[in-house]
Subunit: 328 residues, 2 copies
């Protein structure tokens, strides 16, 4: 009984704190523009008892892409910086690769050279550097990197290049009974170690691309070993497939920023009843980056056309976000 | 604000109802034997603030096998009855199979004959009858079956052959902040349609074997189609692999009943800090079935030895359960 009462008090306290935070100003880093208004109108109409658009709490599933939607993705997806870090740390074990691309470019810190050497070599390096260790060991490598590595342009930690307005949106949705998921092309085990602290999203709500795992007794101890074999590429049509596999329910709220998110957004929009579909449009070349159709990273072309046709919400980062990154 | 207050009141009301239910008698269908005592001692010590064994709520992950652990599994896994139902319903579309086994035996209602015809033919029938339709259409078939089909021995609905003591255990764990998962060799999409109502377990916490899915536009409408290709066999070493893939955290509490659960139980037991590992032992030939080492379905041999070596809790169904199935 004590445990129940304590949990109850804790829940109440958290709710009252949250309530006072909203009373102050919901989504404070958003200008009071069309996107903020649309978000608040949707959340209120789907959570107000008696509303025609009311959505019961178990069905309040919200899915977010990560790269370019919750954190930045230029000049390359941030997992590539982790990959380069791992290549440099383990190059001594791969002497035969040191004089060939992409390893040579990576060792020289030449991102564009590494990219120019082609996708195949990079995917092989990805498989090689992300496998062979236990999941726990891999998590430790990611955490160490996320704490110390800096973005070459901003000199910020990569987790400090998450978007403050989107973090507020995650909090706002959760405070209204939504369950928030990441559905990203990035590696699931690459995101899990820092997603809880950074986004408030626990590991079971972090869905991403993943490799196969092997269960083995290592020195008699049960261990899960990461293998090089790809299990799921959680991009394009892989996203609705992963949503069904992991969640088993169609989202009522989804946010992306690129053509890789199109199928997730279509799948969300096609459900019955109220649906919210949003795109982050990177329009701020000064505070962040400005790109869409012509960019190789985060190409936004077909999804932008679909947004216009489907009346999806397109966030103009430059005019709608008061602040891009969190204050440090 | 109104929404917050309403949620708060609802949470409070649910907690008080729950609290009064426990005050009456926790786990009422369990005899006050060693298993019930061990469960209550573990849950209290891991959830009481200040306890040396306290486990923070996000880490309170409990995983349960389904066949033989949450519901019965004799004379064959219940999904086999669904398979037979589907074969009979669709035999007209497969005239070339009607005169060969296992279809011939299934059409004649001869389970043992179907089983005797070999695993390969049954797996092919499983793939054939569980694919080609949308996930929604498959769910409708499962729901229709679960509402109308009857077990040939007990004449009960299959969902009425879930174990009342285990359903109480799921409730008891959740009331103490545990998140309950199914981790079953059975089909994920076969369990999801009825698991929420029967066990209180929502689709995102139902992990099982699954086939691949294809995202397609069918008459212009985004649709997820079930394919015959196997994605994961969630049995033996597949269970800890699935736990990492879906949950990303090691359980602190796990329950199974057969050697197919051994790796999940080992993986759970090997974690640091307090861990509860339990086995349902089918010892009640009168109210249910009595079987272990020699049974082809739900073989319990190596896991029973591991339980003895590891001091796991082994539930003697005959002496420890006052009631097996729910009252109807």
């Amino acid at each position: 009984m004590n445990a129940v009462l304590m949990r109850c008090v804790a829940v109440l306290a958290a709710m009252l704190l949250q309530a006072s935070a909203w009373a102050a100003e919901p989504l404070p880093s958003w200008q009071d523009g069309p996107s903020r208004k649309a978000i608040i109108a949707f959340v209120e109409s789907t959570t107000r008892a008696g509303s025609a658009d009311f959505v019961p709490e178990p069905q309040r599933i919200a899915t977010f892409d990560n790269d370019g939607t919750l954190w930045a993705e230029q000049p390359v997806y941030f997992q590539m910086f982790f990959l380069m870090d791992r290549v440099r740390a383990t190059a001594a074990q791969r002497p035969q690769l040191k004089d060939t691309d992409p390893t040579r470019s990576i060792m020289a810190g030449d991102i564009q050279g590494a990219l120019a050497s082609g996708e195949k070599g990079l995917l092989e390096l990805m498989a090689a550097t992300h496998s062979g260790m236990s999941v726990d060991e891999f998590h430790a490598q990611v955490l160490e990197w996320s704490e110390h590595a800096r973005h070459p342009g901003t000199q910020r930690r990569f987790t400090d290049m998450t978007y403050q307005p989107m973090r507020e949106l995650l909090d706002y949705l959760r405070a209204h009974g939504y369950t928030t998921y990441i559905v990203s092309g990035g590696g699931q085990e690459f995101m899990r170690p820092w997603a809880a602290q950074t986004y408030g999203i626990p590991p079971q709500q972090v869905i991403g691309s993943y490799g196969e795992l092997a269960y083995r007794l290592r020195d008699g101890i049960p261990t899960l070993i990461k293998l090089a074999e790809v299990g799921l590429v959680d991009d394009h049509a892989g996203k609705p497939v992963a949503i069904q596999r992991f969640i088993g329910r169609r989202p009522v709220f989804a946010f992306g920023n690129s053509d890789g998110d199109l199928e997730m957004l279509q799948w969300t929009a096609a459900g019955p009843g109220p649906r919210f579909v949003g795109l982050v449009h990177h329009t701020d070349g000064k505070r962040e980056w400005a790109y869409d159709r012509a960019s190789k990273i985060g190409t936004l072309d077909k999804a932008l056309a679909a947004a216009a046709a489907g009346n999806w919400v397109v966030v103009d980062m430059k005019s709608e976000w008061k602040q891009v990154y969190p204050d440090r």
